[in-house]
């Protein structure tokens, strides 16, 4: 049985949700907050987006999409081009290859694994930026950023899970 054009279009639009949501998270990070102390750090929202979709719908946020989001992140943030592209790509690859381990596990497991992965990606970003700029930089904002990201993870996962339930329940 062949689905009608409308049904197919509906499915197609729904399948775009993970990428659009992750791009939206990226843009959201770039909005000026006007908060003292928070101007130089921001939670790694795109990282959480890539991690979540790599586990639950890797077919809808494939490696090239993670690469694209990372590249845009580099352009908006002004980090050396390719750094976040590589980091998000690796996060997507690792999370997607280990997804069988996560399915059916509790939320705490996902949080713990995210903690490891985010620590790895923050560390890798720091190392790459230091190599590419040739200057050793202070790691404390990176650590603060990491903690902020970890703290926001449950909230964002809840939002993303809601999004998945709303748009991608049976497609």
């Amino acid at each position: 049985m062949k689905a009608s054009i409308w049904v197919r279009m509906d499915t197609w639009v729904r399948h775009l949700v993970p990428i659009s949501v992750t791009l939206f998270l990226l843009l959201l990070t770039a909005v000026p907050t006007y908060l003292p102390g928070f101007a130089s750090v921001s939670p790694l929202l795109p990282l959480m987006g890539v991690y979540y979709w790599a586990i639950y719908r890797p077919d809808l946020l494939p490696a090239w999409a993670a690469f694209l989001v990372g590249g845009l992140y580099d352009i908006i943030a002004g980090t050396p081009l390719g750094v976040n592209a590589l980091v998000l790509l690796l996060v997507q690859g690792i999370a997607a290859s280990q997804r069988r381990f996560f399915l059916g596990k509790s939320f705490a497991v996902a949080w713990w694994a995210f903690g490891l992965l985010a620590a790895g990606s923050s560390g890798l970003t720091w190392v790459l930026v230091v190599i590419l700029t040739g200057q050793v930089m202070d790691a404390s904002p990176v650590i603060f950023e990491y903690l902020l990201t970890m703290g926001l993870f449950p909230l964002l996962t809840w939002v993303l899970a809601r999004t998945q339930m709303a748009f991608l329940k049976d497609v």
Binding site: L27, L28, T29, A30, V31, P32, T33, Y34, L35, P36, G37, F38, A39, S40, V41, S42, A63, W64, F67, G70, G71, L72, Y73, I75, I76, A77, G78, T79, P80, L81, G82, V83, A85, L86, L89, L90, G93, T125, W126, L128, V129, L132, T133, Q135, M137, D138, P141, V142, F144, E145
Partner: protein, 296 residues
């Protein structure tokens, strides 16, 4: 049986294709880093093109945030209205005294200029831009502005808010540009200590307070002294205020900028007709000469 074997082979092939796509994306990312490191014009053009495309979206998204911040600021101001009023009255009195002094000096200055036939400094042109993107990254302090080459913004131009310098333009697209703040790890600026005229280089290190390096002379710098731009390197006109010396511990002098990053919403990009901080391209003569005489 045969069919499942075919399906299995197909799955293996697909997995192989996915793997090789993944590996080639990794290689692409590494290649981007290497090419970006070599500072090729092409990469910069691609960057600015993408930034141009994103800037209207970011612009639209940053407006509600600005409104919320404004409302919160209003509430805070209401709470301290009386104290603020008293402070402003005192300040007004003091400033009126300064105004009288400044008028007298201005008149005297005009006469002296005429007597000496001083070549006047060119009138700076300026553009005011909104900050649309501030991806507070731990790896650099820069912001995206919604004005670009079509508005007369050029690389290396000074960016001020009020009278204080906050940074300079590092990348220019057609309708967006990137402001590199003084605190960024890549920001280096010739400055001087205002009272002693000692030259130094202000270098950012991604912390809130940039460092003062390569001080000329061996007189000590005291906390609270004002730091302004110097004419060395012909980047900016001398005397633009930057900040105050905040600490001098362990031989490291740190400067507290007059403007903090979270306070920025609108900035002024000023073209002094000088080379700017990065003289890769000579800026053309300013075509926007809006700034007339200083306000009365």
């Amino acid at each position: 049986m045969k069919q499942s074997g075919a399906v299995g082979r197909l799955a293996t092939l697909r997995l192989l294709a996915q793997r090789s796509a993944f590996v080639s994306l990794i290689l692409a990312a590494v290649a981007l880093m290497i090419v970006g490191k070599a500072d090729i014009v092409l990469i910069e053009r691609a960057r600015t093109m993408v930034a141009d495309a994103l800037s209207p979206i970011l612009d639209a998204m940053s407006r509600p945030a600005a409104t919320v911040a404004e409302v919160m600021e209003n509430v805070r101001e209401l709470a301290s209205l009386r104290a603020e009023n008293a402070r402003l009255k005192a300040e007004n009195q003091r400033l009126q005294h300064w105004q009288t002094a400044a008028r007298r000096m201005e008149a005297e200055n005009v006469v002296l200029h005429e007597q000496l036939n001083v070549v006047p400094d060119p009138e700076p042109g300026f553009v005011t831009a909104r900050i649309v993107g501030d991806l507070g990254s731990a790896f650099g302090h820069s912001m995206m502005l919604n004005a670009g080459a079509r508005d007369g913004v050029r690389k290396g131009q000074a960016v001020l808010t009020g009278e204080a310098l906050v940074g300079y333009i590092a990348e220019v697209g057609e309708r967006s540009s990137r402001l590199l703040l003084l605190t960024d790890i890549n920001a280096k600026l010739p400055v001087m200590v205002e009272s002693s005229r000692m030259r130094a280089i202000l270098s950012g290190d991604n912390k809130e307070r940039p460092k003062l390096n390569y001080l000329t002379g061996n007189t000590s710098v005291a906390v609270g002294e004002r730091v302004v731009t110097s004419a060395s390197g012909a980047a900016f006109p001398p005397g633009l205020p930057i900040g105050m010396v905040a600490s001098t511990t362990d031989g490291i002098i740190r400067v507290e900028p007059f403007v903090h990053r979270h306070e920025l919403e609108f900035v002024t990009i000023v073209d002094y007709g000088l080379g700017g901080i990065m003289p890769f391209e000579k800026p053309p003569t300013p075509d926007r000469r809006h700034r007339g005489q200083p306000a009365e």
